[in-house]
Symmetry: C2
Subunit: 360 residues, 2 copies
């Protein structure tokens, strides 16, 4: 059977003040009446029923996850006591999937991306699942790049040959590349055989655990302990021991870059990692002046290419400004140049004293 494993443990700071420690990006609504996390679940439920969707999140968000997706069985929500990056998260999820179904396949998905073409996305996923089930294959999804982005990792694929699954080509991965500089990113884009690393993976639970056994033996040993602890003391205690002892390491660095053979399914399905307020602005529909106004009452005078949003019924006026974001919440307000929106995280990082920690 195929399972989905949705990673929803992130504590992003780039959407402050709308995102807070208590309510990170994936649990917020940006584009419609569903949160990014809900969108992620909604997309995948066309392939996989809620009983086979696992969500790995921070312990403090377990209630939020349950509230946002009530149909999710409580035992499918895994609360991490400490975030330790993707390798431990995937290891524990694989252990649980394998326990439920020794032949089980899992689709690992981030929960804070936006996808404008969900049907195309699903057909790409189905090809990836077919390739994963064909043997003990590690499969990932690569996004066809359309700009020389320096903020993402890249995947180079073998363009000279490929298999097809119901018309969708699947390639062998040549190499994984870290975030490039601009010159390198331009050459990647030109080459035609580099894709953006989407952080989505498809494999049998047993396959990834075998790979972890080779590449991260310490982590693999912890999955054995986890099973024993779970049977003896229950899930909470098992998770506690596991995360206390696991190292902070990504699946890309810990496994994918070391694995002998990895496959990638290239896709173009309107993927956006929603990395900053600028990305949100770019995804929204604009008025004639390029403004995005997400409140009922606002006045923009001699202003263009602005993003204006408020949680509250407050009136906002903007005069003589271009390319800024105004994000207004109950207790905190952000005014930022949209092309400096990546610096929003610096605000959050600075909220460390007694007077300001309440705004984190």
């Amino acid at each position: 059977m195929t399972y989905a494993v949705i990673m929803a443990g992130g504590v992003g700071t780039r959407f402050w003040p709308k995102s807070r420690e208590s309510r990170p990006k994936q649990f917020l609504k940006f584009f419609d009446e569903r949160t990014l996390f809900q969108n992620t679940v909604d997309r995948i439920t066309k392939l996989i029923p809620p009983e086979r969707i696992l969500v790995v999140t921070n312990q403090q968000y377990v209630d939020l996850v349950q509230k946002q997706i009530p149909e999710l069985p409580a035992e499918n929500i895994i609360g991490e006591p400490i975030g330790k990056n993707t390798a431990p998260c995937i290891a524990v999820a694989a252990t649980i999937v394998k326990e439920r179904d020794p032949e089980g396949t899992m689709i690992v998905l981030p929960s804070d991306h936006y996808i404008t073409k969900p049907d195309k996305f699903l057909s790409i996923l189905q090809a990836a699942v077919a390739k994963a089930n064909e043997g003990d294959n590690l499969v990932t999804i690569g996004i066809e790049p359309h700009r020389p982005e320096t903020g993402y990792g890249y995947i180079q694929f073998n363009a000279s040959e490929h298999e097809e699954f119901e018309g969708t080509p699947v390639h062998e991965v040549v190499t994984f590349a870290e975030k490039p500089d601009m010159e390198t990113a331009v050459s990647f884009l030109k080459s035609g055989d580099f894709l953006w690393n989407s952080g989505m993976f498809i494999w049998k639970a047993s396959t990834i655990l075998n790979e972890i056994k080779v590449d991260l033996p310490h982590l693999y040993a912890l999955t054995d302990d986890f099973l024993a602890d779970e049977h003896n003391g229950g899930m909470l205690r098992a998770l506690d021991n596991f995360y206390r002892n696991a190292n902070d390491i990504s699946i890309d660095y810990g496994v994918m870059e070391k694995a002998k053979t990895v496959y990638v399914v290239p896709g173009s399905f309107g993927w956006n990692d929603v990395g900053s307020w600028l990305a949100v602005y770019e995804l929204e529909e604009k008025d004639k002046l390029g403004n995005v106004i997400k409140i009922p009452d606002a006045r923009l005078i001699n202003s263009s290419n602005c993003y204006v949003a408020s949680d509250k019924k407050r009136f906002v006026a903007v005069v003589g400004l271009q390319g800024i974001a105004v994000v207004d919440t109950e207790d905190a307000l952000l005014v930022a140049r949209l092309d400096a929106a990546q610096d929003v995280k610096k605000i959050v990082e600075s909220l460390t004293d007694k007077n300001t920690e309440q705004y984190r």
Copy 2:
């Protein structure tokens, strides 16, 4: 005896959202713990006791005036039922002053200006009072200009001769000039014999009433009616009849430009008419990056020459912006380029529909 007549009827819109129809600029605090109106009264009480200070304001602000200056006798607050510019306001104040003291002199002062050198201001006023009392003289205060401002009226004075009152020179006025274009303003500044029209006037009540009798006979007739109405039906009814029938006209246009002889006392006492958020920003003390932050909790990242103020205990962050004003109030928020701050009035002018009139 000398009286002060403080004109506090303005309904300025350039300080929205801090200023509202119900609380215009002169009744707001900008620089210290006193409002501009309170500052005005505080300055003049060194010369004139509260019993001889009259305040002419709109009827809806009478309670606000009384609250802001409790020591002001209630009968010294004149509530205009309709604003009709400065000539009716001064005519009615002169009538009341003359009624109390037929020989009374009056100092007419706007209530929404800021003066950084109040002692220098008072010595200029004293010379003006001396000149006014010397005979039936109309006296005004002119501000020594330091930039080619196109937003003010100008006063040309006779620089070739002057009198002195305790060391303060008093000149005859050659002409009053309307707001000039930039070229003209530059030539005014160069000439050395042009001053900014401050809207401050000093004269005996009888003198200005005689001048009104010649230049604005209809208005003069209304002052006779006013006295009769006041004796028969009381102040409220007298004011009602007076303002209903008075024409909307300024004292500059109606009287000063027509009067045969007017005197001017040039002064330089840190005068500022506080015309926009830019003026407020310029008057405030700045930090090293040129920022003015009027709230306890704020973060400015890569931002300079900004003005940030909030009525509320709210946290404000600004990222990557130069020269903007952020003015945050309970129900409305302004984000404006400081050098476009004069356009703030356009917002208020646009708040005419059912949803937005509450923010006026």
